[in-house]
């Protein structure tokens, strides 16, 4: 039943010879990679149990009883310390079992997680504690948890690197269909719970809850490690293959999972609002992904289309401040908003006939500025200027308003849950649009234009209309999202659509992975959840975005979730992996 295509190197084989920086150290460690990895795992566990902070910080006690003394509560570890414990134990187990394929690679993933968690918490404590004393020795107390765990993580990564990183194994298990369905159900349920956990972790950021940001980031860091390890084991790829085999089933289950999120711990009004906002930006990001990811047209003013959709909807909502005093049904409003945004999209897209690349980016940038300035100055009285258009009525069906809470028997769903359901359906529809377009004559034409515009023209593609169509469709999708946005937030103001928002959307697409649906959704989620969690860091928000983007571009240029093509395009640009992988790691690769 189990077949692995890749052979795993026997554990007893002499270690690989390393070159480059630290090559000598790695070669020396190579024969002892297993004990080294176990030592790293043990250090991570020790770090989880040691105290982390020497004194109570000004903002209040650090989460997870990090100020407690050694072994006060041996089984009471929770939060980031629990994550470290799990990562450490997992690393030891994997390191100690030589039969696990690609175990060095898995341990490297776990090591990355340990390093990230300990570095993050350690740095946070150091900064808010006002110096290194906070994580070493001060006020007569010692706290070496952060340092022990960090060293443990580094040792794990060193040990893994010295053992030689095996190629990722490929699993070709075929189970009976019902087992696979069950497995997919479990996987998606776990994903749902994880999403709820990530969303709510740390709670709502703000003055009363100073550690919301770090708890959230720490969970993310631990998940990154776990994800890297799972990915290294090849299991993630296998689950992907299985879900591809049962595509329709997976899509339905995922949709259902998204719809039952209000029943989890995330089912409060606040998180529903956050989730709905993410949905709006995810839908917009998918639209942008058509323009940027597929057609390769850099659009720096894209959020203007979201704004156009929102202002059109606001003016047709019957709000007191709107210029047009009529109330149009919501579904019709959505269509009108989308059409108007699409028309503007086509107008903005028309310069693409003449300008390319950087010049096009400047044209779109200018368009975004024109829109914001016009809205700010209330041109035509349609935008309310600095007063915005407030009090947009909630969407309703008869007497029921989308903003009401729902009570079914003993189950009470928070207010805003209907908006959440609606946005999930909208995002699903936008995804369908994207996927269908991508796999069509039109989608291929876009990609061809992105790859080589002259060659595309020589293949009979009318590049001009096709590029304008990309702008038009992208803007239409943003218009839909904008109409929704107007009713959901109740206020439409020009400053929701500034250049910064365009850049954030673009970052979401690049961060998540250009040309992929999950990438855009993931990117939008990350970039729009972070500000909620890091309220106290709102001044540094852009700095953090910038650093994150630079890191992503350095270590994973294809984005978190890579398009199949882009992955291959950029795969051999990762010098580290290519250098250390055994020959034949890329069996299908034929070098030109």
């Amino acid at each position: 039943m189990t077949t692995t295509v890749e052979e795993t190197a026997p554990a007893a084989a002499p270690g690989p010879v390393h070159t480059g920086r630290m090559g000598g150290l790695l070669t020396a460690l190579a024969p002892r990679s297993t004990p080294v990895m176990i030592v790293g795992g043990v250090l991570a566990i020790v770090g989880a149990y040691l105290p982390w902070v020497t004194f109570v910080l000004n903002e209040g006690a650090y989460p997870e009883k990090a100020t407690l003394n050694f072994f006060v509560a041996p089984f009471g570890v929770s939060g980031f310390r629990l994550h470290l414990l799990i990562l450490g134990v997992a690393a030891i187990v994997v390191a100690a079992l030589p039969r696990i394929p690609a175990r060095h690679r898995i341990v490297r993933g776990l090591g990355i997680g340990v390093v990230a968690v300990s570095l993050l918490n350690g740095l946070w404590i150091t900064v808010s504690g006002g110096g290194l004393g906070a994580i070493t020795a001060a006020d007569g107390a010692v706290a070496f948890g952060a340092i022990a765990a960090l060293i443990g993580g580094i040792v794990l990564m060193l040990g893994a690197a010295s053992g030689g990183l095996e190629p990722k194994p490929v699993w070709e298990w075929q189970l009976p269909w019902w087992v696979e369905w069950l497995l997919l159900l479990v996987v998606f349920a776990v994903v749902l719970l994880l999403v709820a956990e990530v969303l709510t972790s740390g709670g709502q950021g703000g003055v009363v809850n100073p550690y919301a940001g770090v708890v959230f980031l720490s969970l993310l860091a631990a998940l990154v490690g776990a994800f890297a390890a799972l990915n290294a084991s090849g299991l993630l790829t296998w689950v992907g293959v299985v879900s591809e085999r049962h595509r329709l089933f997976s899509v339905i289950v995922l949709l259902v999972c998204a719809l039952v999120l209000p029943l989890t711990s995330a089912g409060t009004e606040y998180w529903m609002t956050v989730a709905s906002n993410i949905g709006v930006y995810a839908a917009t990001a998918i639209g942008l992904n058509i323009v940027v990811g597929l057609a390769g047209l850099l659009d720096l003013g894209y959020v203007a289309f979201l704004g156009i959709g929102a202002f059109v909807a606001a003016n047709l909502s019957g709000a007191a401040a709107s210029q047009i005093g009529i109330h149009v049904p919501f579904l019709l409003v959505m269509v009108i908003s989308a059409v108007v945004a699409g028309i503007f999209g086509a107008i903005v897209g028309s310069p693409t006939l003449r300008v390319r690349g950087d010049y096009l980016a400047i044209v779109t940038l200018a368009f975004g500025e024109i829109f914001v300035r016009s809205a700010q100055n209330n041109i035509g009285g349609l935008t309310g200027g600095a007063n915005a258009i407030p009090n947009i009525p909630a969407v309703g069906l008869g007497d029921f308003k989308f903003s009401d809470s729902i009570t079914i028997g003993s189950l009470r769903l928070p207010s805003g849950v209907m908006y959440y359901v609606a946005i999930v359906l909208l995002v699903a529809a936008v995804m369908l649009v994207f996927a269908n377009l991508k796999n069509s004559r039109l989608g291929r034409a876009w990609v061809a234009i992105r790859e080589d515009e002259d060659a595309a023209a020589a293949m009979g593609i009318r590049t001009g209309p096709i590029k304008i169509l990309a702008f038009l469709i992208g803007a239409t999708l943003a218009g839909f999202a904008g109409a929704f946005f107007a009713h959901k937030t109740g206020v439409v103001a020009y400053d929701s659509f500034r250049f910064l928002e365009s850049v954030t959307l673009l970052s979401a697409v690049i961060l998540g992975g250009m040309g992929t649906i999950p990438g855009a959704v993931l990117g939008a989620s990350i970039l729009f959840v972070l500000p909620e969690k890091l309220r106290e860091f709102s001044d540094y928000r852009l700095l953090i975005f910038g650093i994150a983007l630079v890191l992503i571009m350095r270590f994973r240029p294809q984005g978190i979730i890579a398009d199949r093509h882009r992955k291959a395009e950029l795969a051999d640009d990762d010098p580290e992996d290519v250098a250390r992988e055994a020959p034949g790691a890329l069996p299908t690769e034929v070098k030109p």
Binding site: N436, R444, E451, D454, A455, A457, M459, R462, A568, V590
Partner: protein
């Protein structure tokens, strides 16, 4: 490339080591020919001129790149275009395909003026390849060919969105054609490989397959054998004959005179933007003006060089000696195989 370079270049070996380099499988050719016959652009069977240029001149600033070039391509003909570097061959190509608008003169396709837009030129039935390979590097071989089908598919945004039955039928047909074309050029095994990962010679073949996907009646090949070894060059020659047999007229730019003389029904020599000589390979080969202009050396010396360069493979029988207009599908093919 390295994989291919290490193969023995002797032609006898190619059947065993690289079966796909041999001539395209007969059933594929038959099916393809049938498919392409349905296309509105492909050959009508008449032997009349299909692509003509009359007094085409192209001036860039003060540089006269083309001067009054007049030629005509008949259906089912293979024409070679040779000339030293900078003679205006590629400029002429670009004029033919609408990339450049000639300063004066006219290009006509089946008597109608050639549209001045690359996409419309392709739609009208003229496909081309590029001197520097210009595939879509991050698309698979199949997807590259599917892009070539774009112009013959009619699915608009709405049906692309809805994926209805007609859409799916059209996609299936396109995919089927792409598979046949890949088999035709011998790249079936690479159908899911990204274009950028293909060996160099295969990238050139893929470019040809992509151009053929547009159902052309005229195919313009810009240095199809540049950088190829003898074995690959021979395979390309067979491929071009097979393309001609599909009813596609071919214009080839090439530096390799031996290749041109054994391939083409007629050869045009461009020198400094002027059409110097036009005639059968034998006539051109023997023309002292060509020898002098093309190689820029005293005729006697170079003529000898050219003759030996033509080499033992291209014995006089290889080039069609008869009037190409009367018999475009000359017996050159038969005598070669």
């Amino acid at each position: 490339m390295s994989e291919r370079a290490s193969e023995p270049s002797a032609q006898e070996d190619q059947g065993e080591t690289l079966p796909e380099l041999a001539t395209p499988p007969e059933e594929v050719v038959a099916e393809l020919a049938e498919d392409m016959r349905d296309a509105p652009t492909t050959a009508t069977g008449a032997r009349g001129p299909i692509l003509e240029s009359a007094g085409v001149s192209m001036v860039f600033g003060g540089l006269r790149a083309l001067n009054e070039v007049t030629f005509s391509l008949k259906e089912g003909e293979i024409i070679g275009l040779i000339g030293p570097n900078g003679a205006g061959k590629t400029t002429f190509f670009n004029c033919l395909t609408g990339l450049y608008t000639p300063t004066s003169g006219a290009v006509t396709l089946r008597g109608r003026p050639m549209p001045q837009d690359p996409a419309r030129v392709t739609e009208a039935g003229v496909a081309r390849t590029f001197q520097n390979i210009r595939l879509f590097p991050s698309m698979t071989a199949t997807e590259n060919v599917l892009v070539g089908r774009h112009v013959r598919m009619k699915q608009g945004p709405i049906s692309s969105l809805l994926h209805g039955p007609r859409f799916r039928r059209s996609e299936a047909e396109a995919l089927d054609r792409a598979e046949k074309l890949l088999a035709f050029v011998g790249l079936s095994r690479f159908s899911d490989e990204l274009a950028r990962n293909l060996p160099y010679g295969d990238q050139r073949r893929l470019e040809i397959a992509r151009a053929l996907a547009t159902d052309p009646s005229v195919l313009l090949l810009d240095e199809p054998t540049a950088g190829m070894n003898a074995q690959e060059t021979e395979a390309t020659r067979q491929l071009i004959f097979a393309i001609r047999d599909l009813g596609v007229s071919v214009v080839v730019i090439e530096h390799d005179t031996k290749f041109i003389f054994t391939l083409c029904d007629r050869v045009l020599v461009l020198v400094q933007g002027e059409l110097l000589v036009e005639g059968s390979p034998d006539e051109v080969r023997g023309d002292p003006r060509v020898v002098e202009a093309y190689l820029g050396a005293p005729p006697d010396e170079v003529e000898a060089q050219l003759q030996t360069g033509a080499g033992p493979a291209s014995d006089p029988a290889a080039g069609p000696a008869s009037d190409p207009a009367a018999s475009p599908a000359s017996d050159a093919v038969e005598s070669e195989s």
